[in-house]
């Protein structure tokens, strides 16, 4: 793969990765949000695949397949099942911050991510490290979704967005942290999602809804 093609592909995929994060802010229907999230998983897997191809690393290629299965397959499937169990089409009717302001906030967060990531890019300038700010922006947007959305399921998507961003940064810094850690991280993420899904089911049994506004019992 020529360097120019590699750079172009990498930029394209990184752009798609960021765009899907912004789309998640824009969509209100839960089913739509989950579709976009699956697309993002696809973009992340493509990102890893491109890096693997450029480095000619079979091991990284296998990891890319693993990312594809987990992030574009298993996790969206779990989310869809949870959404289906919740019954009627769920909409994020009144998030704490409305959609237009959310999009503006996403723009601001992206700028912030670029500012914060400067030392990371300067340490080892390369096409891959130039994409690190995109990963950081997705981390920040995920955090934003986590704190401003009211449905339990969209909060879960926010957490996964954050996690996708972190994974992207991990691969873009081109530093495998060892297969055991990689496996442990993936397993932990999967388990967190499953635990939260179980809790969400129990929440519906106890509250009759999964609107996080219902979570008001415990405070000081």
């Amino acid at each position: 793969m020529s360097t120019a093609l590699y750079t172009q592909l990498l930029n394209l995929v990184a752009g798609a990765f960021l765009l899907t994060a912004v789309l998640i802010l824009w969509r209100r229907e839960l089913s739509g949000i989950i579709d976009v999230f699956a697309l993002q998983g696809l973009a992340l897997a493509a990102l890893v695949g491109i890096i693997a191809a450029a480095e000619g690393s079979a091991e990284l290629g296998a990891v890319a397949v693993g990312v594809l299965v987990l992030r574009a397959g298993v996790l969206p499937w779990v989310l869809r099942r949870a959404a289906a169990a919740a019954g009627a089409a769920q909409r994020e009717t009144k998030p704490l911050v409305n959609v237009v302001s959310s999009l503006l906030a996403a723009a601001a967060l992206t700028l912030l991510a670029y500012a914060v990531s400067q030392p990371l890019v300067e340490l080892a300038p390369s096409p891959a490290t130039h994409a690190i700010p995109v990963g950081m922006a997705v981390v920040l947007i995920g955090f934003f979704v986590l704190v401003t959305r009211r449905l339990a399921l969209s909060q879960l998507v926010g957490f996964l967005l954050l996690d996708n961003g972190i994974t992207a940064v991990g691969f873009l810094t081109a530093t495998g942290v060892g297969l055991i850690v990689e496996l442990g991280v993936s397993l932990d993420v999967l388990l967190v999602v499953l635990v939260l899904q179980v809790l969400k089911t129990r929440m519906r049994e106890a509250f009759g809804a999964t609107d996080l506004d219902e979570l008001r019992g415990l405070h000081d």
């Binding site: 030392p119 340490l123 080892a124 986590l146 810094t173 967190v192 939260l196 809790l199 979570l215």
Partner: protein
């Protein structure tokens, strides 16, 4: 590292604290919770403690060892934390059978709930052991995140509204915090890959060796993320919100474990990161960061303790306070301060776990977690009230308990290091917190039992006699006069000693605008009268913990050399 080993201890020994609880979990999974397996948890915790002591002896004598394909490595710091884990696990395990017996009797739990709880507790223990034994940052991260997953079901065990809410918050906040730590781990690894020497990976020893060559810009971002991330799990502000909910909803033995060691294990990770950060960036960066986190935690704990109405949440905020103090000690960073921090982690683990065990018993006896529903406990349950009272005195750092020695050490080290105003602010907040804790506790232990409260004048009249009956606790709890609206004037006036001259300035226990959290009102009958008179295993666990804590405050004994070596690892002084 090993020079002239006196006793070359076998490396497989370090897998024992991981394997033994897993065997315990397996036994519970296969056999379930019944008469014959009731004491498996105690045996497992005692074996973990024994293995920890053996490892500690080996490490002090012949230095660190690596095992299990280089994934596990034990040095003096790990060995010290292992002893903390083993001790607190033993306290919690001893209290478990009688706690569960009452829960089953009251119909709040069945055999399946019990089996799941004790099984998860064993897995939880094994994971904490992995976290302190891990040779590198990556495995520590995986283990600490896995503790969140395991304990989520323990927090949400009761399945009612409050428990599910607490569990949801716990998992979301802790996982997010720990995710930040993962980002920090990736970035630190990135910085490590671009040093001149061959890549050190995520191994603690290699990272510390390579630290002076790490890129400062990247390392700064990584360290901030790691400290805030692991600080979340350690209960430090700003991501502390899970802690009061989780502690107040989890079953008492689990709260004891979480408050006693989970926070310490998370703070252990912060200490390890601090070693790398100090070598790479100089001490100023972590010091500033930790001071901010510490003071924020202390301010938060002080403000929310003043008007607290739930005693389990009161204990939880006291944990946030203690972690704030520990963070302050770590910020100071001198050998004295670090030794005090480690001692504080141990002392806090002992006392806080016994407090939660006691609180669980009080909840079973009275059926409410509201402070104002637990009046006159000293008259009804003198032994339990006495232990609880002494434990509260220990947690506010009365001598001779270990927390007195450690807080004194932190204060002395802080003033010596020229951190005067930070220390003064912290000590003032600690005084406020101590005053609120004593005020709330005296309301719980003294006075007339709830049934008689209906007639206030009558209650006031009988207060004198109740105080006399309470005897010991009244004298102990009197030093700081209770100035809240619920205070008991006879006690305050009668016992006013010279020390209280310091206090009026801080005894402003005017409750914050009334916000009423849901208190636990457990359904079903409370403990039967027959049970009530018999001192349960809780009392032995609490008494043993308090005694250990008092002995530790007077002398470190054989723990001294281990503590000195662990301190040297963090301060990097030979």
């Amino acid at each position: 590292m090993t020079n002239a080993p006196i006793w070359d201890w076998p490396a497989w020994l370090m897998t024992a604290p991981v394997v033994l609880p897993l065997i315990g979990a397996l036994i519970y999974a296969l056999v379930g919770w019944r008469g014959s397996t009731r004491w498996v948890g105690v045996v497992s915790a005692a074996c973990v403690l024994a293995a920890a002591i053996a490892i500690a002896v080996g490490v002090t004598a012949s230095g660190p060892q690596v095992s299990f394909f280089g994934l596990l490595r034990v040095d003096a710091l790990s060995a010290f934390l292992l002893i903390v884990i083993g001790t607190v696990a033993l306290i919690s395990a001893v209290a478990t059978p009688s706690h569960l017996a009452v829960e089953v009797e009251a119909g709040r739990a069945d055999e399946r709930d019990c089996r799941r709880m004790v099984m998860l507790v064993q897995v939880f223990l094994a994971l904490m052991a992995v976290a302190v034994l891990a040779a590198g940052l990556g495995v520590v991260w995986v283990a600490i995140e896995a503790t969140t997953i395991v304990t989520a079901f323990l927090v949400g065990q009761r399945r009612d509204r409050a428990a599910v809410e607490a569990a949801w918050k716990y998992v979301v906040i802790c996982s997010t915090g720990i995710a930040l730590a993962l980002l920090g781990t990736f970035l630190l690894n990135f910085a490590a890959q671009h040093t001149a020497s061959p890549s050190p990976g995520l191994d603690w020893v290699d990272l510390v060796a390579a630290a002076p060559h790490l890129d400062p810009g990247v390392t700064r971002i990584a360290v901030a993320l790691l400290i805030v991330g692991f600080g979340t799990k350690a209960g430090l502000a700003p991501l502390h919100a899970w802690l009061p909910d989780a502690y107040s909803q989890a079953p008492a033995p689990v709260s004891a474990l979480m408050s006693g060691v989970l926070v310490s294990v998370a703070f252990y990770a912060v200490l390890r990161v601090k070693v790398i950060a100090d070598a790479a960036l100089g001490p100023e960066f972590t010091r500033a960061l930790l001071v901010v986190l510490a003071l924020a935690s202390l301010i938060l704990a002080a403000s929310l303790l003043l008007g607290q109405r739930d005693y389990q949440r009161m204990l939880a905020y006291s944990s946030i306070e203690n972690m704030g103090l520990v963070a302050l000690g770590a910020a100071i960073g001198s050998p004295l301060a670090i030794a005090a921090v480690l001692l504080h982690l141990f002392g806090h683990g002992l006392v806080k776990s016994s407090l939660f065990v006691g609180a669980g018993r009080i909840l079973q006896v009275t059926g409410s977690s509201r402070i104002d529903r637990v009046r006159g406990l000293a008259a009804r349950e003198p032994l339990l009230a006495g232990c609880f009272g002494f434990a509260v005195l220990a947690i506010i750092a009365f001598p001779p308990f270990a927390l007195f020695a450690s807080e004194l050490g932190i204060a002395r080290a802080g003033f010596a290091a020229g951190m005067g105003w930070q220390l003064a602010t912290a000590l003032l907040l600690v005084l406020v917190i101590a005053a609120s804790l004593v005020n709330h506790t005296s309301r719980m232990l003294l006075g007339t039992p709830v049934a008689a409260v209906a007639a206030p004048s009558q209650a006031a009249a009988s207060k004198e006699t109740v105080v006399d009956a309470a005897g010991l606790e009244a004298v102990d709890l009197a030093p700081i006069p209770a100035a809240g609206p619920f205070s008991s004037p006879p006690v305050a006036v009668r016992m006013l000693p010279a020390r209280s001259a310091v206090v009026p300035a801080v005894a402003v226990a005017s409750p914050i605008p009334a916000v009423v959290p849901i208190a636990i009102e457990v359904p079903g009958p409370t403990v039967a009268d027959a049970h009530r008179s018999r001192p349960g295993a809780e009392i032995y666990a609490m008494g043993g913990a308090l005694l250990t804590c008092a002995v530790l405050g007077l002398t470190l004994g054989p723990l001294g050399p281990l503590l000195a070596q662990a301190t040297a690892i963090i301060t990097r002084t030979p």
